[in-house]
Symmetry: C2
Subunit: 192 residues, 2 copies
């Protein structure tokens, strides 16, 4: 997605070779017009599949999910992050390991929102090691739903999450894939 | 807003006389089509004022804010919730007291996103005692911005937050005001 690549080149801040800060347009301050373009791109890429619901996680996944849900005409569920020690009633839960902060947290979705047999579209802002995607897949599957696609705004191609998910047979559509960040230069993967 | 009243009557769950659960369409599962109507209503109500940015708080404020920001053509900033013991650098912070859980948390916005002299529209899903609104006002004012309006999806009219904010001179536009919940019946305030 050229528009997104150009925005990343213009406004993203390279903090380290591993960490790209996009808080001025994606995940702290949000540019709604860009998010609408992102939603249009997800809608176009998944046009051949019919989904019942979008599943994401708070907070940065919400904006692209809601605009995609509006275009697809389906509800959006967002998993909430909880303290792992808290027991959540009537909910599907899963653990997520946050590599950047070296800590674990729990995500949860009330079981009433996951319907058996439904097809779920997972959307998130970033894909790195894939632990959030795996947790969302687990939550969908705990409720008897199946994941028909995973839409990612920015995939870190130098981490293994995307490869593992694709090798498992999941269809992952990443709007941009950053293959490398070296000497503050961002190298995108060519996609067709 | 009749559409929203009808949706509340249809799908909200009265948990207690103080607590209305709207997690099936507003703050856990989201109905994007309803959120778009909410955004249209906010846009219409604040048509006479020009805003530079929307300020909200994660997570439930994000969806209505992004769709309103799209219609108004302005960016959305969401404050993040942090552990009060964590020092956040280069950010404006404020404490929020959560009455329902009897605990305090901190919300923060990077100072680079609040610009001196700008006019801010605050949006949130609920207004009860008003502690989130006061914290967002404080953050805007710490950065030299001023709050030109507060848009609320559901105001609990039996709590004092809305009255205090209006008495202070803030323009609060609540799409529905619940004046009372008694014996599982929801009483809305008439608005013109």
């Amino acid at each position: 997605m050229e528009l997104l690549k150009n925005r990343i080149l213009k406004d993203a801040v390279v903090i380290t070779d591993q960490f790209l800060q996009v808080d001025s347009f994606l995940n702290h301050q949000i540019d709604p017009a860009l998010i609408e373009e992102i939603a249009s791109e997800f809608t176009a890429r998944f046009l051949d599949t019919s989904f019942n619901r979008i599943l994401t996680v708070e907070s940065s996944g919400i904006a692209p999910s809601v605009l995609t849900g509006l275009k697809l005409g389906i509800p959006v569920i967002f998993a909430k992050k909880n303290d792992p020690s808290v027991k959540i009633n009537d909910a599907y839960t899963e653990m997520v390991h946050l590599w950047t902060k070296k800590c674990d947290y729990q995500i949860s979705v009330p079981s009433k929102f996951i319907k058996k047999g439904e097809r779920i579209l997972i959307i998130d802002d970033f894909l790195a090691n894939g632990s959030v995607s795996h947790a969302l897949i687990s939550i969908a599957e705990q409720g008897g739903a199946r994941v028909g696609g995973i839409g990612i705004v920015i995939e870190k191609g130098f981490q293994e999450g995307g490869k593992i998910l694709r090798d498992m047979g999941y269809r992952v559509e990443s709007l941009v894939i950053v293959d490398n960040i070296k000497d503050k230069t961002i190298i995108f993967r060519e996609q067709h």
